[in-house]
C-alpha cells in the first residue's frame, strides 16, 4: 500500500498520506473509470488483476527467493483446470467455489512440490530451463489428455465452467437495479478479484518480513552462507516454490470461473514470460513495483490492440505493423529501456526484511542502497 503510494510522482514522496488516499480511491473507482471507456476495458481491468496476482506469486519465487521460474504459468493452468474439473458439466461436478478454489490452490501447491523436489538442487540458468520444460509439459498434457480417456478434452478445452457463486449470489449475472439501470457483473468480478489481490498482498507482506522471508533473502543472496547459518535451504526453497504456485493456482481458478472456458492455449510459454516480464519490469522483490509492472504490462497491449491500427491508418494511410507484432516489440522495448534507465525495475526493492521493531538501527533510505 505504502509502496504503491510511493510510486505516484511527487505526491508519493512529499505527501505520503495524500498519495495513500489517491491509491485507495483509484482502487475503488477503477471499474467506474474503465466503464466510462466501455465494457472491453472493464474486462481488461479484471484480467489485469489476475495478472497482478500471478505477478505477486511469481515475485515470491523469483524476487524473494531468487529462483528463476520460467514455467510459472503451469500452476495457473493447474488452478484453472481444477476449476474446470470440479465445477463444470465436463465431469458433471458442480462443487461450490469455496471448495474448488482452495482445491485449485492445493493442487497447484502440490504441483510446486512435485516439481520442486527434484529440481531445486539446480541453480540459475539450469533451474530456469527445467521449469520452462515443466511448464510446457503441463500444457502438452492438457492438450493431449483426451485420449484414451478424455480428461482434459484436449485442444478444444473445457466449456461452461461454473461462475463464482457467493452465498447463492451468482456474480457473473448483471444486477438489474431498475428497468433501465443494471450493474454489470464485471464490477462484481473486479471487487472479488480486488479482495483476493489485497488478501495476497497482506499475506505476502507478512511473509516478507517474517523469519521465512529473511531465509528467502538469504538463499537469494548466498546459498552457501545460508546453509552455513543453519537455514534448511532445501525446505525453504520448496516452500517458496509451492507458496508461489499456490497464488498461481488461485489466480488460475478465478480465471477459469471468470472466462467460463479453459483451453491449453491460454497457458503457453509466452504467458510465463509475460508474467516474468511484469515482475522484472516493475521491480523484482518490491510488491508495489510488481503490481504496477503487472498493471502497465497488461494494459499496454490492450491499448495497442485498440489504437495501433487506427493510428497507423491515420498517419501512414495503411497498417504497417500488426498489433500483435507491435505488442512483442513494445514489450522488448519496455524491458530494454528499463534495463538502461532503471536496472532494478520501476520501483527497486529495498532491503528490508525485518519488522522495524526488530532492528535497533534505523535503516538509511539514502543513496548507496542497491
Amino acid at each position: 500500500m505504502n509502496e504503491l503510494a510511493a510510486v505516484i510522482p511527487w505526491l508519493g514522496t512529499h505527501k505520503p498520506r495524500a498519495a495513500r488516499w489517491v491509491v485507495i480511491v483509484l482502487m475503488i473507482t477503477a471499474p467506474l473509470i474503465a466503464a466510462f471507456f466501455g465494457r472491453t476495458w472493464m474486462r481488461v481491468l479484471d484480467f489485469a488483476l489476475l495478472y497482478v496476482m500471478l505477478a505477486l506469486g511469481l515475485n515470491l519465487v523469483v524476487g524473494f527467493a531468487g529462483l528463476l521460474d520460467l514455467g510459472y504459468i503451469a500452476f495457473y493452468a493447474v488452478g484453472a483446470y481444477t476449476w474446470a474439473f470440479l465445477a463444470s458439466p465436463h465431469f458433471g461436478l458442480h462443487l461450490p467455489f469455496w471448495i474448488v478454489l482452495p482445491a485449485g490452490a492445493a493442487f497447484a501447491a502440490l504441483a510446486g512440490l512435485i516439481l520442486g523436489t527434484p529440481v531445486l538442487r539446480l541453480r540459475g540458468d539450469y533451474l530456469a530451463i527445467v521449469t520452462l520444460g515443466f511448464g510446457e509439459i503441463v500444457r502438452i498434457f492438457m492438450n493431449n489428455l483426451n485420449y484414451p480417456v478424455n480428461i482434459t478434452n484436449g485442444p478444444q478445452g473445457i466449456n461452461a465452467l461454473d461462475p463464482i457463486i457467493i452465498f447463492g449470489w451468482d456474480i457473473s449475472r448483471n444486477w438489474q437495479v431498475t428497468d433501465n439501470l443494471s450493474v454489470n457483473s464485471l464490477f462484481f468480478y473486479y471487487y472479488a478479484f480486488l479482495a483476493c489481490v489485497i488478501g495476497s498482498v497482506i499475506f505476502i507482506q507478512r511473509m516478507q518480513v517474517s523469519r521465512m522471508g529473511r531465509a528467502w533473502a538469504a538463499i537469494r543472496d548466498d546459498d552457501l552462507a545460508a546453509k552455513a547459518i543453519g537455514i534448511n535451504v532445501r525446505n525453504v526453497k520448496l516452500l517458496a516454490f509451492s507458496l508461489g504456485a499456490t497464488f498461481g493456482g488461485v489466480a488460475g481458478g478465478l480465471f477459469g470461473a471468470f472466462q467460463g472456458f479453459v483451453s491449453p492455449e491460454s497457458f503457453s510459454l509466452m504467458e510465463s514470460i509475460m508474467v516474468l516480464a511484469m515482475v522484472v519490469f516493475g521491480g523484482m522483490g518490491n510488491l508495489g513495483g510488481v503490481i504496477v509492472g503487472a498493471l502497465i504490462l497488461s494494459f499496454l497491449p490492450e491499448v495497442l490492440r485498440h489504437h495501433a491500427v487506427p493510428l497507423q491508418q491515420a498517419v501512414f494511410g495503411t497498417v504497417i505493423l500488426d498489433p500483435e507484432v507491435l505488442r512483442l516489440l513494445i514489450y522488448a522495448l519496455a524491458l530494454i529501456l528499463m534495463m538502461a534507465l532503471r536496472p532494478a525495475g520501476l520501483i527497486p526493492a529495498h532491503s528490508r526484511y525485518s519488522r522495524p521493531e526488530l532492528l535497533k538501527a534505523e535503516p538509511v533510505p539514502a543513496e548507496g542502497r542497491a
Binding site: 523469519r211 529473511r214 531465509a215 533473502a217 538469504a218 537469494r220 543472496d221 548466498d222 552457501l224 552462507a225 545460508a226 546453509k227 552455513a228 547459518i229 543453519g230 537455514i231 534448511n232 535451504v233 526493492a349 532491503s351 526484511y353 525485518s354 526488530l358 532492528l359 535497533k360 538501527a361 534505523e362 535503516p363 538509511v364 548507496g368 542502497r369 542497491a370
Partner: protein, 255 residues
C-alpha cells in the same frame, strides 16, 4: 606482526582433552574426481589450528565437508565424540559448528544488522541473542558504525568482519574460517586475526584455512599441510614454520 602465540596464555593441554573434532579417513569427491583422498585431522577444544596448502589442495572442500555443506564419500567425522557425517549443515550448526565461507558469503542486499541477526537464525533465546549482539559490537566497533548500511556496499575487510560476527551469533563451539585474509590489505588482515584471537580466548575452538601460510602458522598453535587431497605434514605452528619443506613449498624460500 603477530608474534606471541595465544598458546602461551592457554592452559589446555591438547593431549589430555578429548578431541572436539576428528576426521578419520575422509574422502570427498566431486563426481568422478576425488578432491580429498582420505585425510585424518584432530582438533582439541580451545585450540587454534590452521590448515594450509596450495590452491586446489582440498582445504575448502575439507572445511565444507566438516560444516556439512558438502557430502563425504567415505570416512568418519566425529564432533564431540559423535558421528555427524549424516547430519545436514543446519543441524551441525545447532550443535555449535559454524562456518565462515570463503569469499565472505554475506547477504549483500540485507543491512549489516540484518546480516548479523541472521546468524542467530536457529536460536530462540531472544535475550541471549541481544547480549551476543552487544558482544559482537564491542568486538567489531567498525561494524557497529555501519549497522544500517546495506552489506554489499561495505569494504572487503568490513564484509569479512560481518561474516565472522554473523557466525559468532550462532554461539559456535567450533568456528571454521575459510581464508579470512583473502584479498585484504595486510593491516586489515591483522585486525581480523586479532578478532579471531579474541574469539579464541573466549573459548571457541578455531579451524582456520589459509593460503597465507606464514601468517597462519605464526598465528596457530598447530597446523596441517595439505597437498593434492592428502595431509602431508602436521606439527605445531613453529615446527612447521621452520620446516624446510614448508619453507620451500609455501613460504617462497629456495633451498
Amino acid at each position: 606482526m603477530l608474534t606471541d602465540t595465544p598458546s602461551a596464555t592457554m592452559t589446555t593441554n591438547p593431549a589430555t582433552t578429548a578431541p572436539i573434532l576428528q576426521l578419520k579417513g575422509v574422502k570427498i569427491s566431486y563426481g568422478q574426481i576425488t578432491a580429498v583422498k582420505g585425510i585424518d585431522l584432530e582438533l582439541h577444544a580451545g585450540e587454534l589450528v590452521c590448515l594450509i596448502g596450495a590452491n586446489g589442495a582440498g582445504k575448502t572442500t575439507t572445511l565444507n565437508a566438516i560444516a556439512g555443506t558438502l557430502p563425504i564419500a567415505t570416512g568418519n567425522i566425529l564432533y564431540q565424540g559423535q558421528h555427524i557425517e549424516g547430519l545436514p549443515a543446519h543441524q551441525r550448526l545447532r550443535r555449535g559448528l559454524a562456518l565462515v565461507p570463503e569469499g565472505r558469503g554475506i547477504f549483500t542486499r540485507l543491512t549489516v544488522e540484518e546480516n548479523l541477526r541472521m546468524g542467530a537464525y536457529t536460536r530462540r533465546d531472544k535475550d541471549g541473542v541481544e547480549a551476543d549482539l552487544e558482544r559482537v559490537y564491542t568486538l567489531l566497533p567498525r561494524v557497529k558504525e555501519r549497522l544500517a548500511q546495506v552489506a554489499g556496499t561495505l569494504s572487503g575487510g568490513e564484509q569479512q568482519m560481518v561474516a565472522i560476527g554473523r557466525a559468532l551469533l550462532s554461539r559456535p563451539k567450533l568456528l571454521l574460517l575459510d581464508e579470512p585474509s583473502m584479498g585484504l590489505a595486510p593491516l586489515v588482515v591483522e585486525k581480523i586475526f586479532e578478532v579471531v584471537r579474541t574469539v579464541m580466548r573466549e573459548g571457541v575452538t578455531v579451524l582456520l584455512v589459509e593460503q597465507n601460510a606464514n601468517l597462519a602458522l605464526e598465528f596457530a598453535q598447530r597446523g596441517y599441510v595439505m597437498e593434492s587431497g592428502l595431509m602431508t605434514l602436521t606439527g605445531t605452528g613453529t615446527e612447521l614454520l621452520h620446516d624446510p619443506r614448508v619453507r620451500a613449498a609455501y613460504l617462497g624460500e629456495l633451498d
